[in-house]
């Protein structure tokens, strides 16, 4: 059976998209350095921005329900320019996957296993990802439900046990944020957490017929953005309430916040459970980007199977992740200054172009 014959249901895709948003939680520090204690406000702004993005994607998925992004590019831009845009998209997906591999490796290296070489950590995670990608998209999306339940249990557990340590005074002064800072941080949240949904344009063609109803894509996008935003707000509220002003300074604020939780000297230091969760969420992120890269190369070269591409691309991905950034601070700097603009090109500019050209073509054909 061909791997592209696998079909997924709308519920599974929604779960995967929520996991995909939560994968960016490791980058929460980036917007926290800008927005400080008003981070929840910035997240609300980011959710609104991402709903605007979602309108574009909803229109595209409605126009082309059975096509992946590569085929849409070919149809809209013509065969040569379409191939060029598709190649850019594949490079974007590949670099994103490598960047997240590097980010999770940095996290494990600096917080949990300082003596282990980075190469080993990256290899260990990528072998699991390669196995999952080899098994197909259905496997990844089915697995997401398990880890989503685990994540919600963990967040609820942290909220209950940490409640006595939380100081809600930390949120004062409220609304102490300039307009530029607000827009900047909301834009960071919108592009890094939600804007990466553009990769799911590759996977809407895999939906089965029962979930390809009239408004199913609207439902999928809205539910996943809202629930992902809700989880994000809860996590940032926990972080700010627990460590307050220290949060913007630290590289992994949520992880540090959980270190503080202490229930009568019996339940302490369970941040390692959180690290498993962070790892699981980033695993989905890497898997989705990895799968998008492999199936994109397959589509663009018109190959008959894709399983043989997984190992070489995985090895290239490990090497790219090792040389992408020199140190963890470069990640933060890149995500605050460069990504909000560089990501917008792929997340907004090209999708808008696709919509505009589709409409123009319709006008000229009708004449």
């Amino acid at each position: 059976m061909d791997i592209e014959d696998q079909k997924i249901s709308g519920v599974q895709l929604t779960q995967l998209m929520i996991c995909f948003i939560c994968g960016s939680n490791i980058l929460l520090t980036v917007s926290m350095t800008v927005a400080k204690q008003d981070i929840w406000l910035a997240i609300l702004g980011g959710v609104v921005e991402s709903l605007v993005f979602a309108i574009i994607y909803i229109f595209i998925t409605k126009k082309y329900p059975n096509k992946t992004l590569i085929e849409i590019n070919d149809l809209v831009f013509g065969s040569f320019l379409g191939k060029l845009v598709s190649t850019l998209y594949i490079i974007f997906f590949f670099l994103q996957g490598s960047a997240y591999l590097r980010i999770i490796t940095n996290f494990f290296k600096s917080q949990i296993m300082p003596e282990t070489p980075m190469f080993v950590l990256a290899l260990a995670l990528l072998i699991v990802c390669a196995y999952a990608v080899n098994k197909g998209f259905e496997v990844i999306s089915r697995l997401s439900m398990l880890f989503l339940i685990f994540l919600m249990l963990e967040v609820a557990f942290v909220f209950v046990t940490g409640y006595s340590d939380m100081k809600f005074k930390n949120f004062l002064p409220i609304f102490d944020i300039t307009m530029t800072d607000f827009i900047k941080s909301a834009n960071i949240i919108g592009t890094t957490h939600f804007g990466e949904f553009v990769v799911f344009l590759m996977f809407f063609a895999l939906l089965n017929n029962t979930s390809k109803g009239k408004n199913s894509n609207i439902k999928i996008y809205i539910i996943s953005i809202l629930s992902g935003g809700a989880i994000l707000i809860v996590i940032s509220v926990i972080t700010i309430a627990l460590i307050g002003n220290l949060a913007p300074i630290d590289n992994y604020p949520y992880f540090q916040a959980i270190r503080i939780i202490n229930v009568r000297d019996i339940l302490t230091r369970f941040e390692i459970i959180t690290s498993i969760n962070i790892l699981a969420m980033v695993f989905f992120k890497i898997c989705v980007y990895f799968y998008a890269t492999v199936s994109g190369i397959r589509k663009i070269l018109k190959l008959s199977s894709q399983s043989f591409l997984v190992l070489p691309i995985g090895i290239i991905m490990i090497n790219t992740s090792l040389m992408l950034f020199k140190n963890p601070f470069e990640v933060t700097q890149f995500a605050t200054e460069i990504f909000p603009l560089y990501g917008l090109v792929f997340e907004v500019l090209f999708p808008v172009l696709i919509l505009v050209i589709t409409q123009m073509k319709k006008l000229f054909v009708n004449r």
């Binding site: 043989f308 090792l322 890149f334 560089y342």
Partner: protein
């Protein structure tokens, strides 16, 4: 270094018979290109050659517009 070469030889031993039996020549060529690229990249990384990060180029392009 020897481990690296052994791993690549293992990948080739596992993948090539499958590809040659079932797929056309196109797939074999594309697989070879990717595998050689991965091999060269890994060896360069192992020796310690500094490859410029693709993000530094993107950074320069983005800074032109800001």
């Amino acid at each position: 270094m020897i481990m690296l070469i052994i791993i690549f030889i293992l990948i080739a031993i596992v993948q090539y018979p499958k590809l040659i039996n079932t797929e056309s020549r196109r797939e074999v060529i594309i697989f070879t290109v990717f595998l050689v690229f991965a091999f060269v990249f890994s060896i360069l990384q192992k020796i310690g050659v500094e490859i410029p990060s693709p993000y530094s180029g993107i950074e320069k392009i983005v800074k032109l517009f800001t």
